[in-house]
């Protein structure tokens, strides 16, 4: 591998950026979709989104040759540069997700904060009341009536409820935008044939959504203390959503290869990077097998016939290992693309 201008910091940035964007999309959908049903997902996603994107953006700035000059991104207008557009997207995303996250913070966290900061305690207490979710009773095997869960934050004033939902509503397109942008950043570079296809943007977006669903499978139980069948319901919905994302990923990788094989010499040569070249192992074993095929198989079984018959310990193990595999595969996808792209040149 030659010296690459873009290294691990950009890889991590693209990964975390996609992950945070996906968390916002899933959280927004969970919040708006079926009031109260998916409150754990909505909450976990809302908290994770600004943190992940914030850390990623921090790395992006730190990776600059002149980090202290990053403000120059915002004092000019360069509409032809994907990086310029992306920078503004990230600013908008961060603002919206931060407001949204505040309005989704668990009341218990806010109360313990209020205990520690007496000065702001009354504001924090108020927020804690606003953020108290509706009590939702989920009975195993029974579907919920709509009117049972019509309002998911009954203690919020109307204006706050509206603001929360508005942020969720704006956050979804912003999240999709950030997810697409992480791919466009690479895809818009004709000089690197491995990147230069519109499919990279789609692949990165669906991978962002899939990794976010995986992360939420791991984190939702930590911020949601509801009854078991309610947790189960949320897990299953993440699982179903992830199956869709994973299959969409597969449907992109296959045409990506076919398209490249039938394309000009440069594109064909660059595909060699993952077809017999230095990135073959990480791509097929890491990205495809570990990150897509095995999780898809397990999730498909779980979603169709169910894995209830398995010993509890094994079920728990699978619920941990499969999301981790998806996350590892998602990271490797960024790693392979960032590096293989820089190894290819226009012929």
């Amino acid at each position: 591998m030659e010296h690459h201008e873009w290294g691990w910091m950009i890889v991590v940035y693209l990964f975390l950026g996609g992950l945070g964007a996906g968390c916002m999309v899933l959280s927004g959908a969970a919040h708006l979709g079926r009031r109260g049903r998916y409150q754990g997902i909505a909450r976990a996603g809302a908290i994770l989104a600004p943190i992940l994107v914030g850390v990623g953006s921090g790395l992006l700035i730190f990776d600059l040759g002149n980090p202290l000059r990053f403000w120059r991104l915002f004092v000019t207008f360069q509409p032809t540069s994907p990086m310029f557009i992306g920078s503004w997207l990230l600013i908008g995303f961060s603002l919206v997700t931060m407001i949204y996250a505040v309005l989704q913070l668990p009341p218990s966290w806010l109360r313990s904060l209020a205990g520690r900061f007496p000065k702001g305690s009354s504001a924090l207490e108020t927020l804690a009341t606003w953020n108290k979710p509706a009590k939702v009773e989920v009975q195993a095997g029974k579907s919920l009536e709509r009117d049972q869960i019509d309002i998911n934050f009954p203690h919020s004033p109307k204006a706050v409820r509206r603001l929360r939902s508005a942020m969720a509503g704006i956050g979804i397109p912003l999240g999709l935008g950030v997810g697409i942008y992480t791919g466009v950043l690479l895809g818009a570079i004709p000089a690197r044939p491995f990147w230069n296809t519109p499919m990279v943007a789609q692949l990165f977006l669906f991978s962002a959504l899939s990794t976010a669903a995986a992360l939420l499978m791991l984190v939702t139980p930590l911020v949601f203390k509801g009854d078991a069948s309610h947790s189960e319901l949320q897990h299953r919905s993440l699982l179903r959503a992830d199956l869709i994302f994973i299959f969409l990923e597969l449907f992109i990788i296959i045409p990506y290869i076919i398209h490249g094989e039938l394309s000009v010499l440069s594109a064909k040569e660059s595909l060699g990077m993952i077809l017999g070249g230095p990135y073959t192992g990480p791509f097929w074993v890491g990205v495809v097998l570990i990150g897509i095929l095995i999780p898809a198989a397990v999730e498909l079984v779980e979603a169709s016939v169910g894995i209830k018959k398995l010993p509890v310990l094994l079920t728990r193990g699978l619920h941990f290992v499969v999301p981790v595999m998806i996350l590892v595969g998602g990271y490797l996808l960024r790693w392979v693309f960032v590096h293989a792209g820089q190894d290819t040149a226009f012929l």
């Binding site: 040759g65 004709p190 040149a345 012929l347």
Partner: protein, 181 residues
């Protein structure tokens, strides 16, 4: 208005690298980096390819992807003369332009944290001198001039010789022309 360009005759190149030395000295290029090069080049189109040695540098493209991709406007194309430059005060060192250049004509100077490239020695042009690489070359591989002036040497060579652009299909409309006959 002028439209600066170069015509190069690779057959004359003896691989002495005097142009690289001259450029480094003239432009105070940090040790370890180069703004021009003598590289192996592929001539013809597939499958009739042949390899030879030839000098090169930034092609000062008319439609430069480096400028298009730059998020800060640091990379610019100088309307007078069409020279592609980097504003040292505006560059944040993101290196996006380097990935966008099909010719690998830019380098990242770790020391200053900004990107550097050939300027066609615009500081010398202002004094009526030629770029350092052009002046130095012992076998006169490079000819530099203004395509808008029909009497210039480059215009004459473009009319009388067969020339070719490198990676023309990359679509950047480069301004270095290589003699092929």
């Amino acid at each position: 208005m002028s439209r600066y360009a170069m015509v190069l005759d690779p057959a004359r190149c003896v691989d002495c690298k005097a142009c690289m030395v001259a450029c480094t000295a003239e432009n105070d290029v940090e040790v370890g980096y180069h703004r021009n090069w003598v590289r192996a080049a592929v001539k013809g189109s597939f499958p009739e390819l042949s390899m030879h040695i030839e000098p090169g540098q930034c092609m000062h493209c008319d439609d430069p992807p480096c400028v298009r991709s730059c998020p800060t406007g640091a990379s610019y194309i100088n309307e007078a003369g069409g020279i592609v430059g980097v504003d040292e005060k505006k560059c944040i060192g993101c290196r996006y332009c380097m990935l966008a250049c099909p010719y690998d004509a830019r380098y990242f100077d770790e020391e200053s944290g900004i990107v550097g490239k050939c300027t066609f020695c615009d500081h010398r042009l202002a004094l009526g001198q030629e770029p350092a690489c052009v002046e130095t070359c012992p076998t006169k591989v490079r000819v530099f001039g203004d395509l808008d002036d029909p009497d210039s040497e480059v215009s004459r060579l473009m009319r009388t010789r067969n020339t070719e652009k490198r990676l023309a299909h990359a679509g950047t409309a480069p301004n270095l022309n290589y003699i092929i006959d």
